[in-house]
Subunit: 301 residues, 2 copies
């Protein structure tokens, strides 16, 4: 089934205590697309300025990503983010964020993408996410992501978006913030009451949880010792997840569990280097090899 992602593409500068990467390809839709493309072709909708480096476009082109929906807007500047991770990589601070084109009109979904069957609305303003949905011709399955900014400042918009999507993928801290609770499972149940049929809560290094009206599943990460840059891990998780759902064309519980597993494996690859570097070096075999090990890890006698 066709897979579409909408979101941001940016130029990131990332510092860790060990190393740094200046002006590298980043953004929720870029991470999602590079991760998903290891499993299934993906259509990308995002906007960049005319300062967007040609070599970043080449990175995306080298993957199984349809760039028909990548708008290059004359006179605009690409989104930029500069962040720094602490010794404990669960903590980071944003040193600078230049919204640039993300503060302008959103891109439009091209005609040829409007029949997309599986859609992921990566993190952006919830009202923009809703506009994207309205441009689509009855897709099969829509998931969205969000972040603390929208939860705090545009709660009603976010709730309106949650009412029209099939699933939501969010961080544990965001789920607690939105629902005002401390128990993740209870927060997940409350999110189901808002509207989505599928709630996926990302817990960073602690894995992810799937909550539906009938099921409660907790799965760990694919453990890796080579964490170099966690930026985009959540987007890559969603990329692996949605790509498997698109590839399989299923949303039964077994498929949803497999999708979480693919998400875990693809995210583990992404965090082993800065930006898209390890995703660029990976292919379908890399993913399947991790899936084999992940499945073995979870197999009990």
């Amino acid at each position: 089934m066709s897979l579409l992602v909408t979101g941001t593409i940016g130029v990131d500068t990332v510092e860790t205590t060990q190393s740094r990467a200046d002006n590298v390809l980043g953004g929720s839709a870029a991470y999602f697309a590079c991760a998903a493309s290891l499993i299934h072709p993906v259509r990308l909708v995002a906007a960049v300025g005319d300062d967007f480096p040609a070599e970043f476009r080449s990175v995306l082109e080298s993957k199984n990503i349809d760039l028909t929906g990548l708008e290059s807007r004359a006179g605009s500047k690409t989104f930029r983010w500069h962040g720094r991770y602490m010794e404990d990589m669960n903590d980071r601070e944003s040193l600078q964020t230049d919204l640039n084109i993300v503060g302008e009109d959103p891109p439009v979904i091209p005609e040829g993408f409007r029949d997309s069957k599986i859609v992921f609305l990566a993190n952006t303003h919830p009202a923009v996410q809703k506009q994207f949905v309205e441009q689509l011709a009855g897709p099969h399955l829509i998931f969205c992501d969000t972040m603390d900014l929208w939860i705090n400042a545009f709660r009603d918009d976010l709730l309106a978006t949650l009412r029209i999507v099939d699933g939501v993928v969010m961080n544990d801290s965001e789920a607690k913030m939105l629902m005002g609770g401390t128990d993740l499972i209870k927060c997940g149940r409350q999110l189901l009451d808002v509207g989505p049929k599928y709630v996926v809560i990302k817990k960073g290094e602690h894995g992810a949880m799937l909550i539906t009206r009938d099921a409660l599943v907790s799965l760990p990460v694919y453990p890796t010792e080579q964490v170099k840059d966690p930026t985009g891990a959540g987007d890559c998780f969603a990329g692996g997840m949605m790509a498997y759902l698109a590839k399989s064309g299923r949303t039964d519980l077994a498929a949803l569990k497999m999708s979480l597993a693919y998400g875990a494996c693809v995210a583990s690859i992404a965090i082993e280097d800065f930006s898209m570097r390890s995703l660029q070096a990976a292919d379908a075999d890399t993913v399947e090899s991790r899936m084999k090990q992940y499945r073995e890890m979870l197999t009990l006698e």
Copy 2:
């Protein structure tokens, strides 16, 4: 194989935001033993004062627990703890701790218990844990637990104990504190360098991780929505784990993974009520039923 636990038995008062339980049975060895006894018979070594309620002894007697090593010391008082959990049950404060008998000479392992094959040294002073080991006649497998107090104030004693045990079970925060790092996997590897062959890191609601020289396994909790009192969850996890190792008589990777799974299932039962109440109401079938569901949750296509 015979299973022995050494540790504390206490009288707890536990408050949560929803409810409270006054003067109930608690202590690391009590939780461990009640949990383990659902899977395998367990020998208990602990000391209580002459104020220890007869009905608490009856609770332990009603389970598959050999109380030959439960010393009732005339003129001494039983350990007491009073704690309060916050809305987020990962946070708690100790309102009062009366060491009482735990500050006196430790109990002695009875002659008939010294041939125990599988031994768990539940949390107590590491020098006391070492003395217990010295009383044993070449057991097959010894694991220990510890806590922040010993890490901070008796680090050398703790390292000496870690050098003579086969495995250690500790919280994520304690592993980081002891090894001075922020990356759990790296801390686990450093713990292996200290001495134990098996490092099990408990991550509370996020499951547990097993780190050996050859393997790295992360498993989730058995998700439960009925968390009433998390006291003793870690001891119950260890109880389920060690009981499975004793029952199976194996320490290969497949058995170690099964032991973590049993730990997860037994701990999930314990936290559904105060003190030993839900463990008292449970039996081997309760555990096997959760194991079946846990295995299903982890089974990927």
